[in-house]
């Protein structure tokens, strides 16, 4: 079993987001970068498959050398080898094409991504990558059980879940539920030591252009001060929601 887990290098969830003074570039100063949380659920699912039936797990990222610590962390958690496609991740479409160009001859049985990255929230790479590789695609995947080539898959739908059946190879875009939060693997000292010796291959990008560019960013407008209402006067809240906010 060959599993590819796509890893996005993103600002930690507690990050305050800042941009350059002309609002054209994300300001990474003081930001801690982590494995995209959605990808972590996928990586742990891959580890469980490896432990149950045996598998090699490759992690891949599109990014400059500064993203390598994130790949090393994935190796420390338990991936067998890492690949960094040496290009700036410009937009979802080009990232999907770059990974597809790399993966097309590798015969992965299972490709796992996060359902989106928590920075740009595009949700573009998983479905486009699956389509370029002609694989079935399950988005918002919250359950995966394998029995040989057969997969039982659960995905989130609006207000519930759907159970699906398919046959490998396929691509799932995961999130919490694929494994539980408490099951997430954290690198142990032994894993960190071993990760230093595991292969991290840097490959040149294929020639893929971005299909969109970011002109600039905007920050949300600051909220006006919160109108405080006395706990003994809840009727006033309803009155304000009616007459001022005009929602009820």
């Amino acid at each position: 079993m060959k599993i590819l887990v796509c890893i996005s290098h993103v600002p930690d969830t507690t990050s305050k987001i800042n941009f350059s003074s002309n609002l054209t570039e994300f300001d990474g100063n003081g930001i801690t970068f982590v494995i995209n949380p959605y990808d972590e659920f996928g990586l742990t699912r891959a580890m469980k498959i490896k432990e149950a039936i045996g598998a090699t797990i490759t992690v891949v990222n599109v990014g400059p050398a500064s993203t390598e610590p994130t790949l090393r962390k994935a190796l420390a958690i338990g991936a067998d080898d890492a690949v960094r496609i040496d290009a700036d991740a410009l937009d979802g479409v080009s990232v999907a094409k770059l990974i597809a160009d790399f993966a097309k001859d590798q015969n992965y049985d299972l490709i796992i991504t996060g359902r989106e990255s928590i920075d740009y929230n595009g949700g573009i790479v998983p479905g486009m990558l699956a389509t370029y590789l002609d694989l079935p695609f399950v988005n918002a995947c919250i359950g995966l059980e394998l029995d040989g080539e057969n997969a039982k898959i659960t995905r989130e739908i609006d207000g519930g879940k759907e159970n699906l059946e398919g046959v490998l190879p396929l691509l799932i875009a995961g999130q919490k539920g694929l494994v539980e939060e408490k099951e997430l693997r954290i690198p142990a000292m032994r894993g960190i030591m071993m990760a230093r010796k595991k292969p991290l291959k840097v490959i040149a990008p294929s020639n893929e252009a971005a299909s969109s560019t970011i002109l600039n960013f905007e920050l949300p407008e600051a909220k006006a001060a919160c109108k405080m209402i006395d706990a003994g006067n809840v009727d006033q809240l309803v009155e304000l929601l009616h007459s001022q906010a005009k929602v009820i």
Binding site: D119, N121, G127, T131, I157, G160, E162, L215, C226, D235
Partner: protein
């Protein structure tokens, strides 16, 4: 070149997000002097109502292989409809189903894909639109020169615009392909009568301040009274008091309802990221220093077990008088 909009339905009825999508497509079409073609798949609702939002042509697919949702087959159907009608822009709602179709459509049509869009384009040459990014901590203006585009729009962000277009309806035939059946739907588990979180206009949400799963009765009662969806914070779904599907926040569902009521949630940055696009935020918390009050429009410092029952009574009284 026309604009195609996929109008999603649930159990045969159009979703509100679909009317928003047609309204959005019609604003694009007005600017570009072209027409809006709406595509319905297995909808039982009268499709001609889509004219009320600006569709001038309606293509309806009724094919038994498409009775239940299948992202590959639905994407193929949208691609066929686009190919047959000289379409250059496809509009899809950014719902769970929409998100699982749009990348397939974009990849097969070699189109640019811009998701989570929250405004009409600020320019058409080059095509420039605003979308949410950094889990609603910021917005980004994206531009593309690609002739083929797929745009997914955020539910609840753009509103519905009435039009009185006379829509011409016709059946559209879909021929299934072998790739459609690679994934088989076995069963669905859906809480009946529940309001979809991403599309809800009102959301009542609660956190660890509620102290236990058994205390959610009053949250559900308030939600029912307001016609709201229920939601929860991340710790609550991690502990298992509420299902993951109710988790709103940075790593859960991002929402932007008209009214968000947060009970017993302190307002960590990760939670705010998923909810701060809500148009009105009410925070009820025992701690006057809770960071959520800084992001709220209305706040009550108090014990949820006293304030929420009072709020239920106040809403009942308001409803009786209005």
């Amino acid at each position: 070149m026309a604009i195609l909009v996929y109008t999603e339905s649930w159990n045969g009825s159009f979703k509100k997000a679909s009317f928003e999508a047609v309204s959005y497509a019609s604003q694009l079409a007005n600017k570009l002097n072209t027409e809006v073609i709406a595509l319905t798949i297995s909808a039982k609702d009268d499709a001609s109502q889509l004219g009320n939002y600006g569709a001038s042509k309606i293509l309806s697919i009724t094919n038994e292989t498409l009775t239940s949702f299948n992202n590959q087959a639905y994407a193929n159907a949208i691609i066929n409809a686009a190919d047959a009608n000289e379409v250059d822009t496809i509009v899809i709602s950014n719902t769970n189903n929409g998100k699982s179709i749009a990348p397939i459509v974009a990849a097969k049509r070699n189109a640019s894909l811009i998701t989570n869009v929250i405004e009409v384009p600020s320019s058409f040459n080059p095509f420039t639109v605003k979308r949410k990014a950094f889990s609603s901590k910021a917005f980004a203006n994206y531009t593309t020169n690609s002739a083929q585009k797929v745009i997914t729009i955020t539910p609840n962000a753009l509103g519905i615009l009435e039009s009185n277009t006379t829509a011409h309806s016709e059946a559209f035939e879909y021929i299934a392909t072998s790739s459609d059946q690679r994934l088989k739907s076995v069963s669905e588990e859906k809480a009946t009568g529940k309001i979809s979180l991403t599309e809800a206009e009102f959301v009542v949400s609660a956190g660890r301040g509620l102290k236990g799963a058994e205390n959610w009765g009053m949250i559900e009662e308030l939600a029912d009274l307001l016609g709201a969806a229920t939601a929860c914070s991340k710790p609550v779904s991690d502990i298992g008091w509420r299902p993951h599907s109710e988790h709103v926040g940075q790593t859960g569902i991002a929402i932007n309802p008209e009214l968000y009521i947060a009970v017993g949630i302190s307002g960590a940055i990760q939670h705010l990221a998923g909810v701060n696009a809500s148009k009105n935020i009410v925070v009820i918390n025992t701690d006057p220093e809770a960071p959520f009050f800084k992001a709220a429009d209305y706040g009550i410092v108090g014990d949820a077990f006293e304030v929420v029952p009072k709020l239920i009574e106040a809403v009942k009284k308001h409803k009786a008088n209005n």
